[in-house]
Structures are given as structure tokens and as C-alpha cells.
């Protein structure tokens, strides 16, 4: 009835979402005024935007591949890959368009204030930081980090969705599809908010000193997702 592996996989999905949020360069309100590195909006909005796009692409793939017998393991990887790519496209497009506005609209160079040299390109950073700001735009390292964040978030979100759909069992029943989707959204939001409380506002990516707080978020997301999974599994099994 209640399959422990399903619960473990949903929990893992939640933890991946929480981990992924830490990679996304979130600048919050300061970044909206080009006074901090990252995209100028909150963690939850960015993570949810990317996560929901991932969910849609995963859902599309699931519908293509699922048979009445459910989903085979190799197809599961395809669905997860589809979700991950969807999330990555969404987050990279957001960062890229934001970057265009920062560079050509606001007129600031993309630069990180947390490191002296970009860990990927080796470009000097500190001399380009405007006085009184904490960097601006999306430098290469943040862009790469954000893409990794989209990958992890998309994988996590689609893993949750696949598991819920597998318990539901009938991919042609739109009630089950919608319930799995909205449950996955709920779990996604809970984990991304917990992760954003751990970050406490802004983060530049994996090179940011705040990234060292990740273990605390993983523990918290593990507990929260486990709770959601235990609640979700019996419901999905019970829908007629």
C-alpha cells in the first residue's frame, strides 16, 4: 500500500529542489536596483518559475511515454531529463535577459563582489564593483551556478511528479494528473521557501560564502519533504 521506496524518492526530490535553490543567483530587491549580483527578484519566484516550467516539460514527456502499465525505469530518466532541461532553459533565459538589461539598460558590468577572481574564467572582479554596491549583473560563475540550480530543481520536481503519477497509476485520468501536479507544486514551494530562509535574502551561487550553509537546508528539506511524502502517497493511491 504505502511503498517506502516511493516515499524515499519523493523526499529525495524535495531535497534536490532545496539544494538547487542554493545554486540560483538571487539578488532580491537590491539586485533589482543593480546593487547586488544576481537576478532582481526573490528566491521563491525564481525557483518556482524554473520549477513549474520543469514540471510542465516533465508532464509533457510523461504523457508521451507512459503506457497503461506505467513508466519503465529508462523512460523515467527521460522524463526527469525533460524536466531538468525545461527548468534550465527557463532559468538561463531569465538570467540572460536580465543580463542584457543590466549591461545595456542600467550600464553596469556583470561582476561578483564575493570573489576576487571569477573561479571559472579567472577574470578580475573586485576592481569593477561600483562603490557602495555588492556587485551587479550575472557574472559567468553565477550563470553557470544558476544553470546547475535549474538542473537540480528540475530533476527534483520531476522526480516528485513521476512518483506521484506512478502511484496514481492512470495517466489518462486528468484528476490524477492535476492532483499530482498540484501536490508536486506544493512540495516544491515548501522546499524552495525553506531553502530561501536558509539563504536569507541574496546568494551569488556556489562560490558565495553563504553556500556553506547548504547542510542545514538539506536536513530541513529532508524532514519537510518526508512529511509531505507521507501525506501525499496515501492520497494519490486513493483517488478513484
Amino acid at each position: 500500500m504505502i511503498d517506502p521506496i516511493t516515499i524515499v524518492l519523493i523526499t529525495l526530490g524535495g531535497v534536490l529542489v532545496g539544494l538547487g535553490v542554493h545554486f540560483i543567483p538571487v539578488g532580491g530587491a537590491p539586485a533589482a536596483m543593480a546593487q547586488a549580483t544576481g537576478v532582481g527578484t526573490g528566491t521563491v519566484q525564481l525557483a518556482a518559475g524554473a520549477g513549474l516550467t520543469g514540471l510542465i516539460s516533465a508532464g509533457f514527456m510523461y504523457n508521451e511515454l507512459a503506457t497503461s502499465a506505467g513508466l519503465s525505469s529508462s523512460n523515467m530518466i527521460l522524463v526527469m531529463a525533460s524536466g531538468a532541461v525545461g527548468s534550465m532553459i527557463m532559468i538561463t533565459v531569465t538570467m540572460f535577459i536580465g543580463q542584457l538589461i543590466y549591461v545595456y539598460g542600467v550600464g553596469v558590468p556583470p561582476v561578483s563582489a564575493k570573489v576576487k577572481k571569477d573561479p571559472i574564467t579567472g577574470d578580475v572582479q573586485d576592481i569593477y564593483v561600483s562603490k557602495g554596491t555588492e556587485g551587479h549583473g550575472v557574472p559567468t560563475v553565477s550563470f553557470v551556478s544558476g544553470t546547475i540550480g535549474g538542473l537540480l530543481g528540475g530533476l527534483g520536481g520531476s522526480l516528485i511528479y513521476i512518483q506521484l503519477m506512478n502511484i496514481g497509476g492512470d495517466h489518462t485520468n486528468s484528476g490524477i494528473v492535476a492532483l499530482a501536479g498540484i501536490f508536486a507544486t506544493g512540495v516544491f514551494y515548501v522546499n524552495s521557501v525553506i531553502a530561501s530562509y536558509n539563504i536569507g535574502g541574496t546568494i551569488e551561487g556556489f562560490h558565495d560564502p553563504k553556500f556553506k550553509r547548504v547542510p542545514k537546508a538539506i536536513v530541513s528539506c529532508l524532514i519537510a519533504s518526508l512529511l509531505c511524502a507521507i501525506i501525499a502517497v496515501p492520497i494519490m493511491g486513493g483517488v478513484s
Binding site: G42, S174, V190, I194, S196, G201, S220, L227, I235, V239
Partner: protein, 279 residues
């Protein structure tokens, strides 16, 4: 990104009174829609919306109290968290009596949802303080309140659409399969997070913030009323829409009055000068 204040919010109606108002009003509104099944009609669906208003006001007050400490991530995140917890708990509570796992009467659904949401809120609140070290003294209590209110807003608005809170008969075919659940999710979150997000600052006052809460939920009631046109009969939907609009207009006026009352000076600036006048 953090809100300006750094201490507890004060003034106005005491938190305990609001909790009672939210829980009793919210659950009463939801349960009164059972009149629909008793009398075989859908005309009482709007009562779910009234319940949602009580619950959302409670939620908005809890958001106001916890966010006045400054979360560091902006107010919207907590509204999304509330409805994230609320939606998982609401579906669980409503579906449990209909599942094969236990035999429970259908009418216990909303109460099971509410209790589940409160437990989830408590665990997440404890984690926020103990593991994430947010160190907000009222975090545990507020999270319980926010999750509970989120769950009641969810159920209340969903009931408006189908006039029935039973899972297999009402919620699944009417709200989930049709996709209105997404509207309820985001709209419910808005009703709870927007009041404080709009009014925050050193001159924030409980009365003004909560007026926005009522007005915003009434607006949501109108929207779900429109959605309910496809699910229940037109008379019941129209009643929901009209009642929602009346509450919206009344409370929007009250909000304007409160804003004028709190403002130091109201002055007209006139229209922008035309190009000829500038020369």
C-alpha cells in the same frame, strides 16, 4: 529585501481574538455549505467564501506579526509557504475519509486538514528556529497559524466553486480536474501575503492591513464565483459574485478612509504639465 521593522508588531485586536475569529469563522463558513447537500441546492456556496475571508484575515494578521521581525526574503515567500503547506494538508484531510485506509465520516475532512496543516506548520516552524537559526521568537506559533489559515482559505475558496467539500464528489471533478486549483492556490496566497506586503513600513497599522485582507479575499471570491459558473448553477454563482463585489467595495472604501486617516496630508498635485506649459 528585509522589511524595515525589527520588532514585534503591536496595536489593534489581540492575536488570540483574531485566531478565534479565523478558526471559528473559517470552519463555520466551510461547514455551513453542508446546507447545500441537506437542502439539495447550491445556493449556500458563497458561505465558503465568507469562511475564506475570516481565515485570510487571520492569516494576514499572522503574516504581519511574523514578517515585522524581518525574514530577509520578502513577504511573498511566507504566503507561498502557507499555501504550499495548506494545499498538501487540505488534499490529505479531504481525501482521507474517502480512502480505504480508515473509515471516517465525510464531514470530518476540513477538521483533519486543519489539524494536519497545524502539525506541518509546527514542524516547519521548529525547523526554522532550531536548524536554520532564524531566531524569530514567534516563528513556531506563527507557522502553525499561517499553515492553518492557508489550509482553510484553500478549502473555503474551493468549496465556493463546487459547493461541496467532499473529495470524490466535489473537489476532484470540480476544482482539481478543471485546473481551478491553480487559481485558488495563487489567489489564496495573494489574499494572505498581499495585505502586509502592501502596507508594511514604520506606519503600518493593523486595521488598515486587515482591511486590505478582507478586500483582497472578497476579490478572490468574485473570481472563484466566475469559475463556479461552469460547475454550479448561474444563480448561485451570481450570488457569490454579487456578495463578493459588495464586500470588496465596502472594504476598499474603508481602506481608502483608513489611508486618508493615517496620512499626514492629502494634497492634489494636478495633472502633469503639457509641453507648451513647460516652455
Amino acid at each position: 529585501m528585509s522589511t524595515a521593522a525589527g520588532g514585534p508588531a503591536s496595536g489593534g485586536i489581540s492575536p488570540n481574538n483574531i485566531v478565534v475569529l479565523g478558526v471559528v469563522g473559517g470552519l463555520a463558513g466551510i461547514y455551513l455549505t453542508m446546507l447545500n447537500q441537506t437542502l439539495d441546492t447550491t445556493i449556500f456556496s458563497f458561505l465558503g467564501g465568507i469562511g475564506a475571508i475570516f481565515a485570510a484575515v487571520w492569516g494576514a494578521d499572522a503574516v504581519r506579526r511574523v514578517c515585522s521581525y524581518g525574514l530577509g526574503t520578502g513577504v511573498p515567500s511566507i504566503g507561498m509557504l502557507a499555501l504550499g503547506m495548506g494545499i498538501v494538508a487540505a488534499m490529505f484531510g479531504l481525501a482521507l475519509p474517502e480512502s480505504d485506509l480508515v473509515t471516517l465520516p465525510n464531514f470530518l475532512g476540513p477538521i483533519i486538514s486543519f489539524i494536519t496543516a497545524s502539525i506541518m506548520g509546527l514542524i516547519i516552524g521548529i525547523m526554522a528556529n532550531k536548524i536554520l537559526k532564524m531566531n524569530i521568537p514567534i516563528m513556531e506559533k506563527s507557522m502553525v497559524e499561517i499553515a492553518g489559515a492557508g489550509c482553510l482559505v484553500m478549502i473555503g475558496l474551493s468549496v465556493v466553486i463546487v459547493g461541496d467539500f467532499r473529495f470524490d464528489e466535489g473537489i476532484v471533478p470540480g476544482v482539481i480536474t478543471t485546473g481551478y486549483i491553480a487559481l485558488v492556490f495563487i489567489g489564496g496566497a495573494m489574499a494572505m501575503l498581499h495585505p502586509f506586503n502592501a502596507c508594511l513600513g514604520p506606519d503600518e497599522r493593523q486595521y488598515r492591513t486587515l482591511t486590505v485582507g478582507v478586500e483582497k479575499t472578497a476579490l478572490m471570491m468574485v473570481l472563484v464565483g466566475v469559475a463556479s459558473l461552469t460547475e454550479i448553477n448561474a444563480v448561485s454563482s451570481a450570488l457569490t459574485i454579487v456578495i463578493g463585489l459588495i464586500i470588496f467595495v465596502v472594504y476598499f472604501k474603508k481602506f481608502l478612509e483608513a489611508t486618508h486617516h493615517d496620512a499626514y496630508l492629502i494634497t492634489g498635485t494636478g495633472l502633469l504639465p503639457t509641453e507648451e506649459e513647460l516652455e
